[in-house]
């Protein structure tokens, strides 16, 4: 684990800000879904395209699987967001966030010739904002900050 001594203050501020901004994004996406009892990933999954299209659609078409997917997705988003913001178990949360985003990317890959029901707000070729966020999370993974600013700092103290 790196320490604060290895970052300049500006670097540390930048990394912590990045962590909190991504955390905010995840947390709000999770809260919106948890608060809306009608929310379901059915439409999104059914709109999947690409290599794993049939896998995602089969999740949607099985009612109990769909319920499980919905539950896991909304609570994973919420808890990951929370973890990144407060810096608690941030490494695990970072990996979880990357896995979730990878699923979104794989279900809606911005490949040539694919159009999706939900129009995107920008124009993408191969790289979309999911990939950008995954890359940002990877940066957070290799430059962790929660041991410096965050609850993980306390864990670390207890462990030591």
């Amino acid at each position: 684990m790196k320490t604060e001594n290895t970052y300049t203050t500006t670097q540390l501020v930048g990394l912590v800000l990045l962590r909190m901004i991504i955390g905010w994004h995840f947390l709000y996406e999770g809260i919106v879904k948890v608060l809306n009892p009608k929310w379901t990933s059915y439409g999104y999954l059914m709109d999947s395209k690409g290599w794993l299209q049939s896998f995602f659609q089969s999740l949607a078409e099985n009612f109990s699987l769909l319920q499980a997917v919905d539950f896991l997705n909304e609570w994973a988003l919420l808890l990951i967001g929370l973890a990144l913001i407060v810096g608690c178990l941030a490494r695990v949360a970072t990996i979880g966030a990357m896995v979730l985003l990878a699923f979104y990317y794989l279900s809606h890959p911005p490949l040539i010739g694919y159009t999706f029901l939900m129009p995107s707000e920008g124009s993408y070729l191969w790289i979309d904002k999911n990939i950008v966020e995954i890359a940002a999370l990877f940066v957070l993974y290799v430059f962790p900050t929660s041991g410096i600013v965050g609850i993980d700092r306390w864990w670390r103290r207890i462990r030591n």
């Binding site: 320490t3 909190m20 929310w39 439409g43 059914m46 410096i148 600013v149």
Partner: protein
């Protein structure tokens, strides 16, 4: 933590411990900002959706008549095993073995094609098929095999005892091991067969349209009422979940006064234009052409009307006794057997509207159209507009159809306060000039360009749309299309309702009175087209007049 760090922390002055704590919880206040944001946002959303004073809908679920577990078995006779006859047989659980094989094959090719599993899971309606009748040998033989396929098996399966095949429908009606008949013959036979069936004491499920000629419409109503048999007309749309919700919306006056309803049926392929395949094995030897020609009394009624009104150009052009495969398989293309767009497609639309608004028979009908694309020798139009005036309801219902473009125009109810677009789902848009919702529009609670309400079957609450994402998917049909996790076939439900009314008594949803309204309405439209003038309904005398 490295050595240097640890040294800093352990046994340190108080200021250092405080700094340590600050660093640990520095980002926690962000959660407060999030909580505040979520609170503000949900308050805004609640204000936006505060429609409780104007929008009160119940969470009604469709009243489905379940099959009684200990009900008596009903013995069915089928008349007509063409395209629709095959579908109706599947509706009561009997499919051709080859059809089952095709479904299995389709599932193998595409695991998401679940029609095989759906059909196998379709509830057993406790019926047996004892008799079948078709005047084409290939269909007749296929009907026997289908009627014996009690266990829904594929080729080379174990079939039950085969039903008896009757060459003439009257022989089938005379059989005493048949309680009820399903009639799926061509239009020109509908009324006659239904009357004969009722007189023979059989309950009747009759495909739409109810009748081919006007005079038989009155007689059929009389006979059904006299005999007291259970009669159901084949408008399976009666079982559509969203129509029940639409009825409630109309009853609660959410749209304001509805002055115009637009209904359409657009298709764009030969099959949709009734250019069906000529089936292999068909010839004068395998088709009972004499019986196909029709009932002599009905033909007389038809020809009398055409001649009396100078409409001979719509008769034929072939002589009725001349054998023709085109006319046998594509009978819908000629008035000699058909009721055209009015009988085939308009009736479904009208019945849906009649179910929702209880309009009854219109005051008048005016039609226009022509044969503009399928110039294949047909006499019925492939483009038709009919406007029906319901003066006692202060509204017009406009039907508009083409058989050479399949643009979906939906059923739209135009009210002073809101419009409702109806299909399997419902969307309501508030009118920007609505009087009733004025205040809510001005205060931004209702945005006229955003659907005010969306109903999707299977969703239990009837809240307004909660997110743009939901709206996108809902509009494209990608929300639950099944009730309680189960997809229902409306034809199956319609047949089940009829069978349960036979068992328990009671009137099915599309009974003879509704059928009478459907038939007269369609005839008004047809006559308006044929005669090129507005036709009127004299409600007191129950007569079609020319004003």
């Amino acid at each position: 933590m490295n050595k240097l760090d640890r040294e800093k922390v352990e046994g340190q002055p108080e200021s250092s411990t405080r700094r340590e704590l600050l660093k640990t919880i520095a980002s926690v206040p962000v959660l407060g900002a999030m909580a505040y944001g979520v609170y503000k946002r949900s308050k805004y959303d609640r204000m936006r959706r505060d429609l409780s004073d104007v929008f009160k809908l119940d969470n009604l679920t469709p009243p489905v008549m379940e099959t009684q577990p200990d009900g008596k078995q009903i013995r069915i006779g089928l008349i007509g095993f063409g395209i629709r006859g095959k579908q109706l047989m599947r509706g009561i659980g009997f499919a051709e073995p080859q059809y089952i094989e095709n479904l299995k094959e389709a599932h193998k090719r595409n695991p998401k094609d679940t029609r095989y599993a759906d059909f196998m899971e379709q509830e057993n309606l406790n019926v047996v098929v004892n008799g079948v009748c078709d005047i084409f040998d290939v269909y007749g033989e296929a009907a026997i095999l289908t009627g014996s396929n009690l266990h829904r098996e594929g080729l080379n399966g174990h079939y039950a005892a085969p039903p008896k095949r009757y060459r003439h429908y009257r022989e089938l009606l005379a059989a005493d091991d048949i309680d009820a008949v399903i009639i799926a013959a061509p239009d020109h036979w509908h009324g006659t067969m239904a009357m004969d069936a009722a007189l023979a004491g059989k309950h009747v499920y009759l495909e739409k349209p109810m009748t081919w000629t006007v005079p038989e419409t009155y007689r059929l109503r009389e006979i059904i009422k006299q005999t007291g048999v259970v009669f159901q007309l084949g408008h399976q749309g009666r079982q559509t979940d969203s129509y029940l919700k639409a009825k409630e919306i109309i009853e609660k006056d959410i749209l304001g006064h509805v002055s115009l309803i637009e209904v359409c049926t657009n298709r764009n392929d030969p099959n949709g234009a009734w250019v069906y395949d000529l089936i292999e094995g068909s010839s004068p030897e395998t088709i009972d052409w004499k019986q196909f020609e029709g009932n002599a009394d009905r033909i007389k009624e038809y020809l009398d009307y055409m001649r009396e009104n100078g409409l001979e150009r719509y008769v034929g052009p072939d002589s009725r006794d001349r054998f023709s495969l085109e006319r046998f398989f594509r009978w819908r293309c000629w008035w000699d057997y058909s009721t055209g767009l009015s009988g085939d497609l308009l009736t479904h639309e009208y019945d849906a509207i009649n179910q929702i608004m209880n309009l009854g028979i219109p005051h008048s009908a005016t039609s226009s159209g022509g044969i503009y694309f399928f110039k294949d020798g047909r006499t019925v139009p492939d483009v038709l507009q009919t406007s029906f005036e319901f003066t006692n309801h202060d509204l017009t219902m406009l039907y508009s159809a083409t058989l050479s473009n399949q643009r979906n125009r939906g059923k739209v109810f135009m009210g002073h306060d809101a419009s409702m677009e109806l299909s399997n789902t419902i969307t309501i848009l508030v009118d920007p000039r609505s009087t009733r919702y004025r205040e809510k529009i001005d205060s931004g609670i209702i945005q006229p360009d955003v659907p005010f309400f969306r109903y999707v079957p299977g969703q239990t609450d009837t809240d307004a749309i909660t997110s743009a994402t939901e709206l996108y998917f809902a509009q494209r049909g990608l929300l639950y299309s099944y009730v309680n996790g189960k997809k229902y076939d409306t034809t199956f439900l319609h047949l089940r309702e009829w069978l349960e009314c036979i068992r328990r008594g009671g009137q099915p949803s599309c009974n003879i009175d509704k059928g009478f309204e459907e038939a007269i309405t369609a005839h008004l439209g047809t006559r308006a087209y044929l005669e090129g003038r507005t036709m009127y309904w004299d409600a007191d005398k129950e007569l079609i007049t020319r004003g």
